[in-house]
Amino acid sequence: MHASNVKYRLGKSYGFQILTYVLAFACVIPLLAILFFIIKAGITKINWHFLVNVPKPVGETGGGIANALVGSILIIIVAAIIAIPIGILAGIYLSENRKSRLAYWCRLSTDILQGVPSIVIGIVAYFWLVKPLGKFSALSGSVALAIMMLPIVVRSTEETLKLLPDSLKEAALALGMPFHRVIFKVIVPVGISGILSGVMLSIARITGETAPLLFTAFGNPYLSTNLTQPMQSLPLLIFNYATSPYNDWHDLAWGASLILLLWVLFLNIFTKLITRKWKVQL
């Protein structure tokens, strides 16, 4: 081994280290850029007035995104109510039955469903709920979003419960517990942090989904809490107002983008916190 050869290889190794640092940093750049850009554009638009008023008709200044905020919250809550119980129970079934045929098909469908484009889900919801009922509704939007939430909840529940040691179940069974109690009083409580983080992540995911809501919730210029009527939501508002020719509406779109971004950011951080706090030390 020549000294120069060694030097060259050391230099190469060092260069490679530098490269990995640079590229890792490069991954953070898009997020920072987006945050910076949106905060800069939207921060001036946000005030209390902005949050509690509905958009004013074109030409009038002022207005806010109250209807979209309320609408988003309502649609997501209903979607969660639909998807969470089904998702968790399905996840429990899959973790308990590794080898049955039903489990195989269930897993397969969940995986495929996860890959279905969101707009296709929106169209399907349109044909299932909007057309027969004859009108757009928040409920149909919730159903579409619930379908999108389902695979995430199912898979994360299954994975969390699969990681729990068998000894936990055995201990419970040996105490004379019937199976449903073993699941709901022992297994689920121990895995609750994993299940909850799956739920939170699925909510964070659907918060910003626009395409499924396009032909289901459709949007509404007024504040509405009626689930059987069209309802406004943040992504819809951003979509419609950002592409409109009015500056006032552009401002609203920027403000709404910032709100949406903060919401998603907050959800992710919150998920990390509760996962750590509620995680059961096995």
């Binding site: 936990l168 201990a171 069974l173 105490l175 004379g176 109690r181 409580p189 059961v280 030390q281």
Partner: protein, 252 residues
């Protein structure tokens, strides 16, 4: 007069086509400590799990033959009732990690939805923890989680949890193989005290442990019950050559 609490006649158990417990006939006397020993794969753990009907929970597991608790056929009773009368302690200590020590001890009641007045619950917890010589060590930290205890203490907590259900029989599946020597001897000392109120059946691959703690020993080999006798006789003058070869370490 000795009465038999658990009786097996022509008992067999299999995993699918794999016949792991062959034609076992055994009488377990009340308030004794019975050790079940044998090399790996001899069927001793499977047999143990058949007693409290945990074996059948494995997909494809079957068994047949007679297994009686106090002259009632275990396999004609509801499995839940069987497990309330026959408790089990496992190899790795497994207290419920999300419950406090207090809640762990009465887990059998609480998680089964049995509502007890606080005084009764307190009594059961104190009584069970005293029975396993753990009360003085944990009485000031009953609300802490069980996972902060040492291995030996956790295992005693699991025994307390089983004892709290007031079973008649306690099954132990290699209860000290995951513990250090000092914790092991603390747990072994418990067996002598526990047998006053319960019948203990202990599966162990450590034959010195079988010699130290049990009144009678059963030696399993390749699924068969080769010899079953008083421990003193098993270890000074066993009748079967296979037993002698096993305990003198001559098995290859």
């Amino acid at each position: 007069m000795e009465s038999t609490i658990i009786k097996s006649r022509n008992f067999n158990a299999s995993f699918g086509t794999n016949h792991v417990v062959k034609n076992v006939n055994i009488d377990i006397p009340r308030n004794h400590v019975i050790a079940v020993m044998g090399p790996s794969g001899c069927g001793k753990t499977t047999y143990l799990r058949c007693i409290n009907r945990m074996h059948e929970l494995i997909p494809g597991a079957t068994c047949n033959g007679e297994m009686k608790l106090n002259d009632e056929n275990i396999y004609e009773m509801h499995p839940i009732f069987v497990r309330l009368k026959i408790g089990m302690v496992f190899q790795r200590p497994n207290p419920f990690p999300n419950l406090s020590i207090y809640d762990n001890v009465i887990a059998g009641y609480k998680l089964n939805g049995v509502k007890l007045p606080k005084a009764e619950r307190d009594r059961i917890v104190e009584h069970s923890l005293t029975r396993v010589a753990l009360w003085n060590e944990v009485k000031d930290s009953l609300n802490k989680k069980g996972s902060f205890l040492s291995g030996g203490q956790q295992q005693r907590l699991c025994i307390a949890r089983a004892v709290a259900m007031e079973p008649e029989v306690l099954l132990f599946d290699e209860p000290t193989s995951a513990l250090d020597p000092i914790s092991t001897s603390t747990v072994e000392e418990l067996f002598h005290e526990l047998k006053v109120n319960y019948t203990l059946i202990i599966v162990t691959h450590n034959m010195q442990q079988a010699a130290r703690v049990s009144d009678k020993t059963a030696f399993f080999y390749m699924g068969e019950l080769v010899e079953y006798d008083e421990t003193k006789i098993m270890f000074t003058n066993p009748k079967d050559n296979r037993t002698q070869n096993y305990i003198t370490g001559r098995f290859s």
